[in-house]
Symmetry: C2
Subunit: 327 residues, 2 copies
């Protein structure tokens, strides 16, 4: 089985790669080749005998999509995107990468023809939803995004369904929750604090909480995100019918609930490292985000997230801290 | 006020034009110029002193969108599209005209800049919805089309909202019900019988009914369709917020109710001209269509449809038959 990962240098891409290399197979089939692509050169995985091709380019450039699928990968994981803030700041770049690039990939698969019909896993986002929204948001709720990023993802979903319906590829679109706890350094994303208030205290560092304790949001661990991708790559898509895009399950937790989970895992001293510093701008941005989902279809189809925020904290401690909670 | 109509040679386009010429104004502003475009040469309206420019081309050709908006029309009515059956049969043509062409128009407006911000009225379709669907379909229901045409319209809607949110133009997307009674000759569209079973008997002709009496569908007269377009062109869009696409109101009627309305208007002899000839193919196609809508937002925003199917029959008799019901 030949697997192509677009966006292989990103956090989720690297974790997916690690898992594929560790497993050596996907859905019972041995992985015979990995093609890793990103706009920056992706790192080759260590300790594997699977042949790996690395490539770095702007996949929306003319000819790139064709080049990337020319090797006829059996499974394509499309994780590449301009993130929300940049797609909002740079209209042309966002539409070029997130919409035109994605469509070029779809069309490159179509252009091959000759019975070539890969599994195409597209990472979408809960940003396809926009206020006003019910809480929880059901699977049949209107996708009415309030950002260009969300618009581009919603269009990617529509095309994925139509191309799948027409037999061009076998697509599954998954709307990822906010990934928490993101490993690594704090970043400037408006959502950064959701991870920061767990990650930094566990690392003995101070974290800033810019919003109220009552803010509720939808989370899944990096480990669950990888699980979603693998399940999307292997599920019998007959079970999906024509609706190829699924809101992934997650944990709906308030900031207060996040903090209590941190306390249970690492005690009062960890919680004491969270400094409240209200930021009206971030508070306002976050207030427009979806809170929780009734992700019934995905659950029925076997997608699995953590049962509660404690499990998300535990996953971080196991996967990033070697299972050890610092004193 | 300069008005551009794309798709001006179509049935709805011609009726819109007739109304604009008759009124001489739109939203209280005198119409100073009309630009009419279609893939076939549109007819110049008779009896008007308004300067009219006519043009015929494929608006998705490179440079055409820019040419069409170069005169900076204040209102753009975009009615041009490849219809459902053709978009399904010809993948490339459907995407080229319905998606790329529409996006080129949007981008041509953006390219002008300099504060140019026209009202952009986009005709969408209830084909953005696909089974399974509730009955009636609420305004917040997921757009999950089951045709390439519906996909292309749903994408046009998403782009319309995003471009409007970003201040590129002031867009309103309207999802038209099935237009009934369509004047003219019977056509081969699967939906043709909805009009045929009224139009042909009123013209003393036999009509074929290929589906069960219990089939329910969503209708509005050509007169209402023009009303929707005019209201979309003049409404205060602050009232719409960021959700720029609206399901238009209509009349949900079963075929049996249509037939009873015909009987009330023209008697048993007219009804006797309907010949039942079940067609499993058409029955199957129609069974996948939406039935009725709870078009609450559009009604609250002042869009008006007929109150019942009798009014739709009456509109046809008044507008197409000079008010006379044949004996």
């Amino acid at each position: 089985m030949h697997i192509l990962i677009l966006g292989a240098a990103g956090m989720v891409g690297r974790k997916l790669l690690d898992r594929l290399v560790k497993d050596g197979s996907l859905g019972g089939e041995t992985i015979s080749r990995l093609t890793l692509h990103d706009v920056v050169p992706p790192e080759a995985p260590a300790g594997t005998t699977i042949p790996v091709s690395l490539s770095a380019s702007d996949f929306s450039d003319p000819g790139e999509a064709e080049r990337l699928v020319a090797g006829r990968p059996d499974v394509i994981f499309h994780l590449a995107a301009i993130v929300s803030g940049e797609a909002e700041a740079d209209f042309d770049k966002g539409y070029r990468i997130n919409l035109d690039g994605t469509r070029r990939l779809y069309d490159a698969v179509r252009a091959i023809g000759e019975g070539y019909k890969p599994r195409f896993v597209f990472t979408s986002s809960v940003a396809v939803f926009g206020a006003p929204m019910p809480d929880p948001i059901p699977d049949e709720y209107l996708t009415a995004p309030l950002t260009s990023y969300g618009t581009q993802k919603a269009i990617g979903e529509l095309l994925l369904s139509d191309y799948s319906r027409r037999g061009i590829f076998d697509g599954v679109g998954i709307r990822l929750p906010t990934i928490c706890v993101r490993p690594g350094k704090p970043n400037k994303a408006a959502s950064g604090f959701f991870s920061g208030i767990i990650r930094e205290p566990l690392a003995g560092q101070e974290a800033v909480l810019p919003v109220s304790d009552q803010v509720r949001h939808w989370h899944a661990s990096p480990r669950s995100a990888v699980g979603f991708l693998l399940h999307a790559a292997t599920i019998d898509t007959k079970r999906l019918g024509d609706r190829r895009n699924l809101t992934m399950p997650g944990v709906g937790a308030t900031v207060a609930e996040q903090i209590e989970a941190l306390r249970r895992a690492a005690g009062d001293s960890a919680v004491a490292r969270i400094r409240r510093e209200p930021d009206p701008t971030i508070e306002r941005i976050v207030s427009g985000w979806p809170r929780t989902f009734d992700a019934r279809r995905a659950l029925e189809l076997g997608f699995k997230a953590e049962p509660d925020f404690d499990a998300i904290v535990r996953a971080h401690i196991e996967d990033e801290l070697g299972g050890k909670v610092p004193a």
